[in-house]
Structure formats: structure tokens, C-alpha cells
């Protein structure tokens, strides 16, 4: 089971985790990305490439299911304007064994950072700035080969 969603609505953690738990797995691994409150950031805006984004997330989820034995993969990314503490992204994997769930979850969030067309803009009061890609994100994605 692959579930991919790109949506301006808040991410409902309990709903997403419950759906993964229903897959009959021995373990569910999840990652939640939140809007940080450092550097005076007052809001974060997420832009994406409609159509390509969903395809890119599905392709990533399919790659993960080929590489690890998974019973479920969920990738939910929020778009639009968010504030500190809001959930930006949720990745969850269900597998018979914890190692597969944990590794696949780490793979998916690392690769999402470089393989899915999203762009962040930070708002600091009246000032807005597009976030530059980080070299460390490319390194993290690259370690999976």
C-alpha cells in the first residue's frame, strides 16, 4: 500500500499512523518534519510543482518497496503557509521487522529532500527569502546510492 498526498490541510498524525498500523506489520517507523522557530522565522511557505510532485513521491515510494520488504508507505507533504510547530512532512513505513521500516523511512525522507519539487520560502516579519538547497541534504540523499 502506497499513500501519497500533497495538501494545504494540516497533517493528521494519528490518522496516518493508524492507517499504517492496520497493515498487519510488526513495526511502524515514522518521521515528522516541523517548522522550526529559530532565526526569527515567523512563517514558512511551501511551493510545489503540481503533477510532478505526486509522481516524484510515488516513484520514491515504489523504489523503497523494491528495496525493502514493506507492507505500507505513506508520504504526506503540506503546501502553502505554515507557522512554527506546524507539521510540514510526514513519512511512515510499515514492515514485518523494525530494521526494514526504519531504514526505508530514513531513505524516503533523505531522498524526498532532493528528489521532489518543493521550495521553501521563509518569512521574517516583512522580509521573505527563498531557502537555498543545503549541501548536506545532497550528501544524505547520496548515501543511499
Amino acid at each position: 500500500m502506497i499513500r501519497v498526498s500533497v495538501d494545504p490541510a494540516p497533517i493528521e498524525l494519528a490518522v496516518e499512523v493508524a492507517a499504517l498500523e492496520e497493515r498487519g506489520a510488526g513495526g511502524v517507523a515514522t518521521f515528522t518534519g516541523l517548522v522550526r522557530g529559530d532565526d526569527g522565522v515567523t512563517a514558512l511557505e511551501l511551493e510545489h510543482y503540481p503533477g510532478m510532485t505526486e509522481q516524484a513521491l510515488i516513484a520514491l515510494a515504489e523504489t523503497a518497496t523494491e528495496r525493502w520488504s514493506l507492507l505500507g508507505v505513506t508520504m504526506v507533504h503540506r503546501i502553502g503557509v505554515m507557522v512554527q510547530g506546524d507539521r510540514i512532512v510526514f513519512v511512515g513505513t510499515a514492515a514485518h521487522h523494525r530494521r526494514e521500516a526504519l531504514e526505508a523511512c530514513a531513505f524516503l525522507i533523505d531522498r524526498l529532500k532532493t528528489d521532489a519539487p518543493f521550495w521553501k520560502r521563509e518569512q521574517r516579519g516583512e522580509d521573505a527569502r527563498w531557502v537555498d538547497a543545503r549541501h548536506t541534504d545532497a550528501e544524505a540523499a547520496g548515501r543511499w546510492g
Partner: protein, 83 residues
Amino acid sequence: MDLLYFAWVRERVGTGHEQRDPPATVLSIADLIAWLATLSPGHAEAMREPERLRAAIDQKFVPLDAPLGNAREVALFPPVTGG
């Protein structure tokens, strides 16, 4: 050809979507970027540093030296920063 722009590329060009028919001499993404830069001051500003741009042809990431082929939709944007 449908051209899509995202993030600061979109802001500099002044639109997120336009239709253009590049001349036959435009064979690659890099050629397209150079040609687009001649169209308006906004395009020129957006295309000023090609090394800061990334591209997708028909919704697949491609390198800047990729041939355009029979591309229907080409997108130009900064490196992605999701998650």
C-alpha cells in the same frame, strides 16, 4: 512549448507559466535558458546564473545539457528544498 517557472525563477520572470516556441537552433536546456534570457529584463534576471537553475522535461528532472527532444513541458526552478 509550455514553460513553467517556480520559486524565485517564477518571481523574476513575472509569471509561472507561458507558451513559447523557441527557434530551431535551441537544442538543449542550456540553449533554452540562454534564449529565454533575451526575451525580457525579468527573464534575463531569472536566467542570469544558469548554474543556479535546475530543470525538468515533461515532469522528469534532467541535467542542463539535456536535449529538448520533443519536450511538451519544460520547467525551470532553483534546487529543491522540501521536507
